[in-house]
Symmetry: C2
Amino acid sequence: MLLVMPEDLRSLGEFGVIRRLRAMTSPGPGVEAGIGDDAALVRFDGAALLTVDMLVQDVHFDLAFSAAEDVGYKAMACSVSDIAAMGGRPRYAVVAFGAPSSTELTLVDGVLEGLRTAAAEFDVTLVGGDTVESPVLTISVTVAGEPGPAGSILRSGAKPGDLLCVTGATGGAAAGLALLRRAATDPRSAELLDRCPELARAHRRGRARAREGLAAATSMAHAMIDISDGLGKDAAHIAEESGLGLRVLAGNVPAAEGVVEAASIAGTTPERFAVGGGDDYELLIAAHPHDVDLVRDAVAPTPLTVVGEFRAGTERTVEWSDGSRDALENVGWEHHA
Amino acid sequence: MLLVMPEDLRSLGEFGVIRRLRAMTSPGPGVEAGIGDDAALVRFDGAALLTVDMLVQDVHFDLAFSAAEDVGYKAMACSVSDIAAMGGRPRYAVVAFGAPSSTELTLVDGVLEGLRTAAAEFDVTLVGGDTVESPVLTISVTVAGEPGPAGSILRSGAKPGDLLCVTGATGGAAAGLALLRRAATDPRSAELLDRCPELARAHRRGRARAREGLAAATSMAHAMIDISDGLGKDAAHIAEESGLGLRVLAGNVPAAEGVVEAASIAGTTPERFAVGGGDDYELLIAAHPHDVDLVRDAVAPTPLTVVGEFRAGTERTVEWSDGSRDALENVGWEHHA
């Protein structure tokens, strides 16, 4: 009997991966030289936004919970979300991809397919990359984008009296991960994941608010950030960069569907998931109270909810529904913590 | 007695690393928003070059042979070299940095210091980054650059009859690594490393030919690439992308100082190091025979040596001094091979 070994990365080689990537992508508008040269040459008129995110296996994702396509998709979506949070339009991406030599080709192809799917969804052209050996799957995606027509929205633009608003609903990614970790041994978790597939999807892929970010920037947003570390921590970033205090009311934060049940299963409160959970990629937007409706109209049909208020000073707190308070910067998720 | 634990990354946290990076860098020309926002906002007029490289501990460097500063320096220099190989000018960088939580802060600071040193040397402004947990030190540097005044030099521009030229001398990085691996047990290797410090430096830091790449592009270069995988493999890339054959004479390839002795110690030939060794970051340039002196003048005082000739066809070979031949694409170093 012939022993059929799965084809692995060793049999394909670095240049094989690059060829594969090249075959999967097509030249986009503005790309004068794409994959296959020392660097890509792309058009930019006046200014560019640059951002990078790195996802590491068993830190940001677990292949027991996420398919390879999810990993590739999320790696691209994280960086797209950063461009959105500046009010810009993502245009080009370069990808650094590390994997063990023994990685099966189906896994590599899955990651590339996920990158391609996200790139197509967000209108990003993959223009270059590097592929290397590494002990675990490691994907770093750099996205270059264009500022929106109204300029870029920084974290530092909030004014005293501005309201803090959030798009969509939060806590879904953290709740999804908590359920995925329990599902093998806990039928309630498995049942809830079946009933609310959006919870697992929120963890696996995130939701980059590319349209909403651009739209908010052309309305009256003063400051903006995407939620990657948790609403609390990321709201604190806007307040710090703007030199202001901030009071967030946890009871006003809209929890994603299924988060209430997930919190009950996980032995925590929905507010903890909604304020402290990371990876949601919803946008936090600071706007003058008179302008909140303009921002709401701009991001519609995605909901926009007021969750806090900026004030002079340095007190940055979240008030939980039970009356207790925490420092905002302690509510969220941090690497190396 | 008080047990003093070394301060590690856990005590600093992700935002601590970003603050440290921010404190180490200053806003550069063209930077409208740098480290500390969702994305950096930089000026570009017309076009941008984008490239990324990833370095992984125990794959691309060994902390027994390289200091943390070397690792940071090399991570930046690799990407600068890619921009140089397009004939462009490096401008901005974003860095993704992965490390175990237990990493000592002196190591983190060393890597940051190396990045900063290389950025200053090559006139690059560090504008953003991401820091994450990972099982080994992993550094991905994306550099965005401007095309040179004469446009970009692709790999695909070589013409039949063009000569293949190389800047400087090659084989030093591979020879240096071979000696570093032997030095602990072999006094001859240790002595040669002492006598030719450039060999270890070539492995540890590389030599990005930023000035030479820009200068060659404004002379009459038809095609250009930097040597990261070995002269043989990288020369084959130019030939393939240009749809040409190529004959390289190994005896003409200038070996770096000390490579002859290192080859004798390592039981190989100097030609194998000079043609097959990776990580040299010298530039390979294709030019019309009448224009080689123009290119030589442009890159001076760095030497330029003719090492091969492009021809119609698909035969791409290196001829060793002993009369034997190999396919060029097999002479070099490949990941996942």
